[in-house]
């Protein structure tokens, strides 16, 4: 009989959870779930040694443990700090933590190009999420941003170093999933960059996973480049027999067309089953795959827009609260404007749309 492990109790933002000894504060928070989970930009549960670098997950330890209740003097990286029995942690309940997170977000953004409109990662970018949650809408930077040249890492992957936030995840992928170390970090400080050094092609069966782990659009899929916006594509879980990997993937489809193949990300945007390059880059036909069904997408995600899964129309409540009166507060835009006409398929119009196309009789 395996000895039963004694669980340790930790309180995060007044919510208590019991976890196995050695669990990090972050993993404990994820077990609780919800708003109190610190954001992560560098930690990746399936990559050994990751975490500790970006500092977005910093939290306050208000009580070290039941045995030693002293608070920890500095904020700690929740992704790399193990819980102790009786530990009390403050995340969103501590203004200093939020203030620091705001500062870290600012640091991550000062040299970021903010080119979301032309970035393939937009819509599934952790930095976008972080900025919405913790960024400010003005910049205090009055200097030119640091830029780098685009670089192709072999036929499949493009490195857009200017967008990189130096989370080192791709370096760990190169180290841990591929057989030989192909890629690392060059230079120091704000000049440091990831590189294969002299653009050595990366031709390893698992190198494509660095695209999935990249939290921003610094490593993108060249076979998907500028093909579509992620929120126009529909994710489907699918699998195939593969001799190299599990073959469990996610297809990003539009109609019957497979635009992109990725690993299956969990709710924390982490892939547990890394896939091979053949599945990712070379199997772009529906007939290559056994489709399991649509991926469940969190309803707050931009990717879930236009996906009419289990859609429930809210109940009409106005007549009820207004004593039977039913004023029209919302109007049907199609009735007053010709521009948004659902009958007209914009993609079928040759050339740019003009007002003439939308002209119609007043109804």
């Amino acid at each position: 009989m395996a000895e039963e492990k004694k669980l340790v109790k930790v309180t995060i933002d007044n919510l208590t959870v019991e976890v196995e000894p050695g669990t990090t504060i972050l993993e404990a928070a994820r077990q609780i779930g919800g708003d109190i989970v610190p954001p992560t930009m560098c930690y990746y549960s399936t990559l050994k040694g990751s975490g500790g670098k970006c500092r977005t997950c910093l939290v306050k330890v208000a009580q070290g443990s039941a045995a030693d209740p002293r608070p920890m003097p500095k904020l700690v990286a929740s992704c790399r700090t193990a819980v102790m029995d009786g530990m009390v942690v403050e995340n969103i309940t501590n203004p200093a933590v939020l203030e620091t997170r705001k500062a870290v977000t600012e640091f991550l953004l000062i040299n970021h190009p903010l080119d979301c409109p032309v970035c393939d990662q937009a819509g599934e970018c952790d930095l976008q999420d972080l900025s919405y949650g913790h960024g400010v809408d003005t910049s205090r930077l009055e200097f030119k941003k640091r830029t780098f040249e685009l670089e192709n890492l072999g036929p499949y992957i493009q490195l857009h170093m200017t967008r990189c936030i130096m989370c080192y995840r791709c370096v760990y992928v190169a180290d841990q999933l591929t057989e030989q170390r192909l890629h690392g970090v060059l230079d120091r400080g704000d000049e440091c960059r990831i590189s294969t050094y002299i653009s050595k092609a990366i031709d390893n069966d698992f190198s494509g996973n660095m695209i999935d782990v990249c939290p921003v659009g610094a490593l993108t899929d060249r076979t998907f480049r500028f093909k579509n916006r992620v929120w126009f594509t529909k994710p489907m879980d699918a699998h195939r027999e593969c001799s190299k990997c599990s073959g469990n993937v996610r297809l990003w489809m539009r109609g019957e067309e497979v635009f992109r193949v990725t690993g299956r990300k969990d709710q924390w945007n982490e892939v547990h089953d890394f896939i091979c390059n053949e599945c990712r880059f070379e199997k772009k036909k529906v007939s290559d795959w056994v489709i399991e069904g649509p991926t469940k997408v969190h309803r707050h995600s931009v990717i879930s827009a236009n996906k009419y899964q289990n859609l429930k129309t809210p109940k009409e409540f106005l007549p009820e609260v207004m004593g039977g009166r039913d004023p029209k507060m919302l109007m049907n835009i199609h009735k007053v404007s010709g521009v948004n006409d659902p009958e007209i398929d914009l993609s079928k119009i040759p050339g740019p749309a003009t007002s003439k196309i939308f002209d119609k009789e007043e109804s």
Binding site: G51, V104, E106, F107, I165, G189, D190
Partner: protein, 451 residues
């Protein structure tokens, strides 16, 4: 004359070589510990001596050795940190260049105490010629039976290797040093685990500064009590200070930690006063990472007491009105120096040396440097001063290693104490390109707040 323990024999002809060193009593401490003391006895002696780390943080050395994990069958390592790259600090270099056998002797004794059979000196890459000096000293020591197998028939084996770095200040941070020594990129590790538990190759490891390990020799030779008698309170023993800047006699001095800052600057035994008859404006007493102090706060604490050359007195008043002894890099500024330019120059250094691992330090150091350059070259705005202060406060305490703090403190202190000079630079941008702000009120005695 003050008592010298480390530089006692520095004047002896040929002391750099084995024969002269041995003839003047060198290696006696190795004989003493291997023949009459157990490793724990040595650690206890060091504990009782009150010796504190000379690399900057001032952590009690004996206590550090006591924390070392000692699992059976796992090797332990002693590493000598000779990466000395902090602007203003050049004491280890002097010691290694002129009396290398003192360090080798200290290393053998310390290796015995912590049980390291394989000891490394990690030396700054730019000290190429000192690598040769040390390797020659190691070869001489080995030829004379002080290193190798079964030293003096005691059963203790020890080898010492010199490993040069590749030109990164951050590799002086002990865990970055370990990474670099293992052949990896010198990124500081995330702690815990601390080196005492998992250091070099995941084995228990002690990292100590050159001066710390050299000081073990006089402690063993003269006894811990004798050593502890020197200095004041918890600042026991002697300390090497590398003095530079606008003083009459720059150089490396060994002081007993019982003299005042004023004596150190003005006495002929040490710095010999401010050069060219100028007046003292400011001082960075412990290497570029520690807060800068204006003359009035340097010579007297905010309480009006005389400031002494000790760990405690220099840090009296905390970061608001105090500084730190740090690594003993004593930089003196006279009235003709510009604090803005000096702060810019430090920032440029930190921006260049950040390893780039964590976001606040990687991005913040570059940002601060750019703002300071604007202020220095007459393009600054008043709000830049507050912005600078805000940036440094967001870096400090939020990084993986103390480098982030080291990059923030000089900026914070410069703005705290010399704000009017920064403002003058902004509002009189054109004039500031032609002349310096001068002494202003920085040397005027401060009113002591009634307690």
């Amino acid at each position: 004359m003050a008592r010298k323990l480390l530089l006692e024999k520095i004047g002896i002809e040929g002391i750099r070589y084995y024969d002269a060193y041995r003839k003047s009593g060198g290696y006696a401490s190795v004989e003493k510990v291997l023949k009459t003391m157990s490793p724990d006895d040595v650690t206890n002696e060091v504990k009782k001596s009150g010796l504190r780390g000379r690399g900057g943080a001032g952590f009690p050395t004996g206590m550090k050795w006591g924390f070392l994990a000692k699992p059976q069958g796992v090797p332990r390592y002693l590493i000598c940190n000779a990466d000395e790259s902090e602007p203003g600090t050049f004491k280890d270099r002097y010691l290694m260049e002129h009396i290398p056998h003192l360090l080798i002797e200290g290393l053998i004794v310390s290796s015995y105490a912590v049980g390291s059979n394989c000891t490394y000196i990690y030396i700054r890459g730019e000290f190429g010629w000192i690598v040769d000096i040390l390797e020659q000293a190691i070869a001489e020591a080995k030829n004379n039976g002080w290193l190798g197998k079964n030293i003096l028939g005691s059963g203790f084996d020890c080898e010492i290797y010199v490993h040069p770095g590749a030109g990164a200040y951050i590799c002086g941070e002990e865990t970055a040093l370990l990474e670099s020594l293992e052949g990896k990129r010198g990124n500081p590790r995330i702690k815990p685990p601390f080196p005492a538990l998992k250091g070099l190759y995941d084995c228990p490891t002690v990292v100590n500064n050159v001066e710390t390990l050299s000081a073990v020799v006089p402690i063993i030779n003269y006894g811990s009590e004798e050593y502890a008698k020197i200095g004041i309170g918890k600042s026991a023993g002697t300390k090497l200070i590398s003095a530079c800047g606008n003083i009459s006699k720059p150089g490396v001095y060994e002081i007993e930690m019982n003299i005042s800052v004023e004596e150190f600057i003005y006495s002929d035994e040490y710095c010999g006063g401010i050069a060219n008859g100028r007046r003292l404006k400011a001082c960075v007493p412990g290497g570029s990472s520690v807060p800068i102090l204006p003359a009035n706060l340097l010579l007297k604490t905010a309480k009006g007491e005389t400031r002494m050359m000790t760990y405690e007195s220099l840090s009296d008043g905390g970061f608001i009105t105090g500084s730190m002894l740090g690594s003993g890099g004593f930089i003196v500024y006279d009235e003709d120096q510009c604090i803005v330019r000096n702060t810019y120059s430090f920032s440029r250094f930190y921006r260049h040396e950040s390893c780039g691992q964590c976001s606040p330090c990687r991005e913040g150091t570059g940002w601060m440097k750019k703002i300071l350059w604007n202020i220095e070259t007459g393009k600054g705005k008043i709000k830049d001063i507050d912005l600078l202060f805000s940036i440094q406060s967001k870096i400090e305490g939020n990084t993986i290693c103390p480098f982030g703090d080291a990059a923030s403190w000089p900026v914070a202190a410069a703005i705290r104490h010399f704000r009017d000079e920064f403002e003058w630079h902004v509002t009189n941008a054109e004039e500031a390109q032609r002349r310096n702000y001068g002494l202003a009120g920085y040397a005027e005695p401060l009113k002591v707040a009634a307690s």
